[in-house]
């Protein structure tokens, strides 16, 4: 089930909210049981068999959490964490990567049962949540949850279950026991949900058509202008798709009294790839930082650094150990996104830029330097989105060839110009709203009266968008979120 379809909007959500706020669910424990019940129903709607895998994940991680809480920060605790890693990552490996790896090396044919293993929706997200729970209990940062139903709700809570944000147990452990419900918070939630829905239905879904048209064309028939238009359309599509989903998840959380952390902060304003990753899918970046980058850097990387320092000196040792940790982290981030060589290359590109940015020197003229940094970062992000979208490395290479006028294609063609004409307004609106334009305007308004008119205007526009969204949801076909595949 997706948030943007009619069944969710007109049946699931109203029933979920009605029962949640009804006299039957006065007690927080009953509220949690209801939320767990509907979350499992939400997941079972799309994955009637793989729900068993998620239930198993809940049981295993609850037991491991209880077990590791007896031995925090000890070598025995470390072994329990290792069991958790083997189980969680093992399941992820089997369902996400085995068929791809074996297929890549020609070890299984397309019709074999292994090649037919389907990816359970959201497995990458809930696996990481479950893993962080056990590790945080081991680190002594969180207490083990006594009630399996609360661990179940943490892992399976439907707003963030299938496409994030990757919520940490520490963020909602208190909220599972006690949380406030207020009309203000509920209205904030509806507002935020509506923003996310608008991003998805009114922008992302439209831009998706333009991107698909460009990416689906043969390299020689795709004009340079249309190739750049398609890449830009996808860059905006994926931003509005994923940040829209996060907005909806945060909004839904608020409707049920939960506060999740932000997952996006206008990533396209970044002046470096390092900054971009502080603004894009923040929960994933922080997960890899806390559960892979730091453990690597505080452990094996220091040993590498010491050994390298004796051989080549301090400076080179720093470069070698930094490359060692960052390479592993960005390869893992790439592969997390999908079982495809395109994501391996994509992760490698992120590594190269982030590693290089540590050692580059800023331009002397700060203002000019900022402009150059913004433009180059934007172009790098745009280019990496091509390989992210491409079905294969060769597809990406052909697309780059089209962008660079290297595939015998025209600069401009009638086909491309027709579709650019059709979708240019979505692209312009998308570009505007991918930057903090509204925030800047709101900040600039000092006059109280003007501010009041602005706020009323915002509310009117939001009501209009909500009606428009409903029309789209009723009439629109099935259009899943990109991150469902991860």
């Amino acid at each position: 089930m997706v948030f943007s379809n009619g069944v969710f909007l007109f049946l699931f959500l109203p029933i979920a909210l009605f029962v949640y706020y009804s006299p039957f669910c006065k007690n927080i424990k009953v509220k949690n049981i209801w939320l767990l019940f509907i979350s499992l129903g939400f997941y079972a709607w799309g994955e009637p068999i793989y729900i068993l895998l998620m239930l198993l994940s809940i049981c295993v991680n609850w037991i491991l959490g209880k077990w590791v809480s007896v031995y925090p920060k000890t070598s025995k605790g470390k072994k329990i964490v290792a069991i958790s890693c083997i189980y969680n990552l093992g399941v992820l490996f089997v369902f996400k990567y085995v068929s791809w790896l074996l297929g890549s090396f020609g070890l299984v044919d397309k019709n074999s049962p292994i090649a037919q293993i389907a990816l359970p929706i959201g497995i990458s997200f809930y696996t990481f949540q479950a893993l962080s729970y056990v590790i945080d209990v081991y680190r002594g940062k969180e207490q083990a949850q006594e009630n399996i139903l609360d661990v179940g709700l943490y892992i399976a809570f439907f707003p963030q279950l299938i496409a994030g944000p990757i919520v940490r147990y520490g963020t909602i452990s208190r909220q599972l026991r006690e949380r406030k419900h207020s009309l203000d918070m509920f209205c904030d939630g509806v507002w935020r949900f509506s923003i996310g829905l608008s991003k998805k239905l009114l922008l992302s879904n439209q831009l998706a058509v333009a991107a698909d048209l460009a990416f689906g064309r043969n390299a020689g028939e795709r004009s340079v202008v249309f190739a750049w238009f398609g890449a830009l359309a996808f860059m905006l599509q994926i931003y509005f798709d994923f940040s829209g989903y996060s907005d909806m998840a945060i909004g839904l959380g608020k409707m049920f009294g939960f506060e999740f952390l932000e997952n996006f902060n206008y990533p396209y304003v970044s002046r470096s790839i390092t900054e971009y990753w502080r603004r894009w899918h923040i929960s994933l970046g922080e997960w890899f930082r806390d559960y892979l980058y730091y453990p690597l850097s505080f452990g094996p990387a220091i040993k590498v650094r010491k050994a390298a320092a004796q051989k080549w000196g301090r400076k080179t040792a720093g470069i070698v150990s930094s490359a060692f940790s960052l390479f592993i982290v960005w390869m893992a981030t790439g592969i997390w996104h999908g079982a495809n060589w395109t994501f391996v290359v994509w992760g490698l590109i992120q590594f190269v830029f982030i590693f290089w940015e540590q050692y580059r020197k800023p331009l002397k003229n700060e203002k000019f330097g900022n402009v150059v940094a913004f433009i180059t970062t934007f172009l790098v992000i745009l280019s990496t989105k091509v390989i992210f979208k491409a079905d294969s490395i060769s597809h990406a290479v052909h697309y780059y060839a089209s962008m660079l006028h290297l595939s015998g294609n025209n600069w401009v063609d009638e086909y491309g110009m027709y579709w650019i004409g059709q979708y240019k307004s979505f692209l312009v609106i998308g570009l505007i709203f991918s930057f903090p334009v509204l925030e800047c305007i709101t900040k600039c308004i000092k006059n109280k009266r003007v501010k009041m008119i602005w706020n009323i205007g915002e509310a009117v526009v939001m009501c209009f968008l909500l009606v428009l969204n409903i029309c789209y949801a009723v009439s629109g076909g099935y259009n899943p979120f990109i991150y469902f595949n991860f």
């Binding site: 002594g140 505080f298 650094r305 301090r314 930094s322």
Partner: protein, 82 residues
């Protein structure tokens, strides 16, 4: 010069060499304000552990331990005693 001052001088010289882009004397909330990001934290911790032969436990380390030059000095002194 007492031990603390001497350590502070050594650490300042070290960070000026390995993290010249960060002014460690400018803030008392280097981590909280984002002046020290994850890569800088790792560089700092690695260099400190090599220079002063101390072991940082990532499960125990808090942002407050690295938020200022004085806090870093205290942390290294504490780890040396362990």
């Amino acid at each position: 010069m007492n031990m603390k001052e001497e350590m502070k001088k050594k650490i300042l010289e070290l960070v000026e060499e390995v993290l010249p882009q960060i002014d460690f004397t400018a803030s008392n909330s280097l981590v909280d304000d984002g002046l020290l990001d994850s890569i800088s934290i790792v560089t700092l911790v690695s260099e400190l552990s090599m220079e002063f032969d101390v072991v940082f436990d990532m499960n125990e380390l808090e942002p407050a331990d690295l938020n200022s030059l004085d806090a870093i000095v205290e942390t290294v002194l504490r780890l040396q005693k362990q």
